[in-house]
Amino acid sequence: MAQKRKIGVYVCHCGGNISDYVNVEEVVEGVKNEPGVEVAKTHMFSCSDAAQQLMIDEIKEKQLDGVVVASCSPKLHMFTFRGMSERAGLNPYQYVQVNLREQCSWAHTNDKIGATEKGINLVRAGIAKCILSHSLSAIRIETKPSALVIGAGISGMRAALSLADMGLAVHLIEKEDEVGGWALKTALMGPEAQNGPDIAEKLIARIKQHDNIMLYTGAELTEKSGNIGDFNVKVRLNDDSEVTLNIGAIIVTTGFDTYVPQDGEYGWGTDGVVELKDFRKMLNDGKLERNGKPIKDVVFIYCVGSRQKKTETCENPNSYCSRYCCTATTFTAKTLHALEEKTGQTVNQYHLYRDIRTYGKMETVYEEARNDGALFLRWDPENPPVVSQADGKLLVKVQDELDGNDEIEIGADLVVLSTGMRPRDNESLDDILKIPKSKDGFLNEIHIKLRPVETVIDGVFIAGTAQSPKTLAESVASSLAAVAKTGGLLKKGYVDLEPLIAKVYEDKCTWCDECLKACPYGAIEKNVCGDKEIAMVIGALCKGEGACVPVCPHDAIDIEGFRDDQIIAMIDASIKDIK
């Protein structure tokens, strides 16, 4: 380094979580003479307000230009100490956290000497990185006060309305000519007998009236460019005209498809074997007859197309639970029972299930169905029910686990398959949005618990059943979560992005385009610099994962915070002898 650095090193006892196994005083001794270290000391709890204030005072007083705190995992307190650095007037990217607890003291409670030596090396590596750190500033982007919502089912409509109520301009696009999604096609829905079309139509009416919402039907996204806060998208309408929109964020609520059974799967293709949604329509019409004959016996088969195992006939199994079907089917039992009471016609119900997953308060639906007289028989996936035809009726054979696995034969007028959800095929949209998918094929969030509606594409959120099978209530909950994230982003007016991204060394770069090919985010562009062509990084698009780094044949690209010189210095410091 050209000029001498002044680095503060603070080693944390963490009560005793660290100091019971790592001799923190020896760590301080081991690092205090490292080049660039101005001060090295211990704190009982570095994260406490008092310790933070002491560090802030020292950073100011000694004019430190780098800080290393060796404490817990950065997952816990990196942002705490970055904030502390900022309050002390130090650039937060000149702060380095060393993981001395989860990756040292706690992992080596059996070897105090070894843990202390390792600790010294870990802190030395942190110092080495800090010496080579420099001031970075977040990438600030102004956000446009408008959003694009893709898919006008219940989730998408609910999201559009809430964003519009916040005062944001909303463009709601729907591929179909009709908005409303599956709810419009589903009559009564569990658990509380709401009418799908009613719910949908109320939302549609509000959307059509809302000044802040532009609704486009028969519309598809054809292009997307730009970045969080400032996207440019093109939407093709059904008359082949195209509109260009400038928006700040995107919510994807493209929904699900239903599973279509394979020929012969639980008798699929045989007359009298129907899907749950068609049976629900039949109930809604109020007729309990088929081909002119009254229906006396109905068999429901659960988990069709859900929780599948890979077999010869099922090469790409849907291994997930579709979540809504148990409630929908047990609720249908209740609807059927109510119709029985109304018409005086007796119908025997047989429900063949694997596990009943009417979780939460939906459990009452299941209980009521049983109380109404529906019969529940449990089958093992090794011995699934078999549906065949006999004497003009359907014959269902099942081994009931709850009754000693005895084989039971049921003559049925109708077999209803409770089919699950499938990810929707949206190839062209997938190509444009580039949102990663889970192994189940649904769109994937960053973290299922901690960042449940955000995707790795900043400014693009997902909600509803595009993300995973959900009930309608769960879909709306996730859609409103996406609204909260979108609103928080767009109402603030700007967004700060991590500056730990790729940087190109102009002198080394020869524009061979390897980095361009490696980047899945379109963050590399060709740029002319003087008389040569070089790669340029688009800051707002770069994720800083570093896929471009090893492929560069000229060592001309690095990730800030993980630069080549920093990693080399860290390696050297990690292996240095303990004197």
């Binding site: 020896e26 040292c104 590596a125 790795v456 570093g546 896929a547 080549d564 390696i571």
Partner: protein, 137 residues
Amino acid sequence: MSISKNKKSEPKILVFSSSAISDPGIDMAGSAHMHYSTDVQIIPLPCSSGVKPSWVVHAIQQGFDGVFIAACGGDCAYLSDCPNRTSAAIRMAQDLMKENDISPKRLKMSGICSVCADNFVDHMNKFQKELEKLDSK
């Protein structure tokens, strides 16, 4: 205070871990007080696809006996084809190791997910044994 010269020396491993995926898995091993050798040093990176072959060679030349890449695997939040990209970087690193007369056996990679604590500890123990064998030849 000075540290008394330490116990038997074990093979030294440098781990490159990815901060979003494998680091939490390694943290979890510590949180559960699962023991592995203190001769395992860890450097976090954003993603395993970004490991530079020259770092691997440099680490061995500086005195590490082996380098372990705790890869994001299929859970990578950045790249859906992260395992392929990481494998490609590993192949480049192995070639560079051969050029520098370093046995490619000194480099290992495995996907370490955010809850793969047992898995990580097993890998460290196994890798140290393999490195011991390699050095006794």
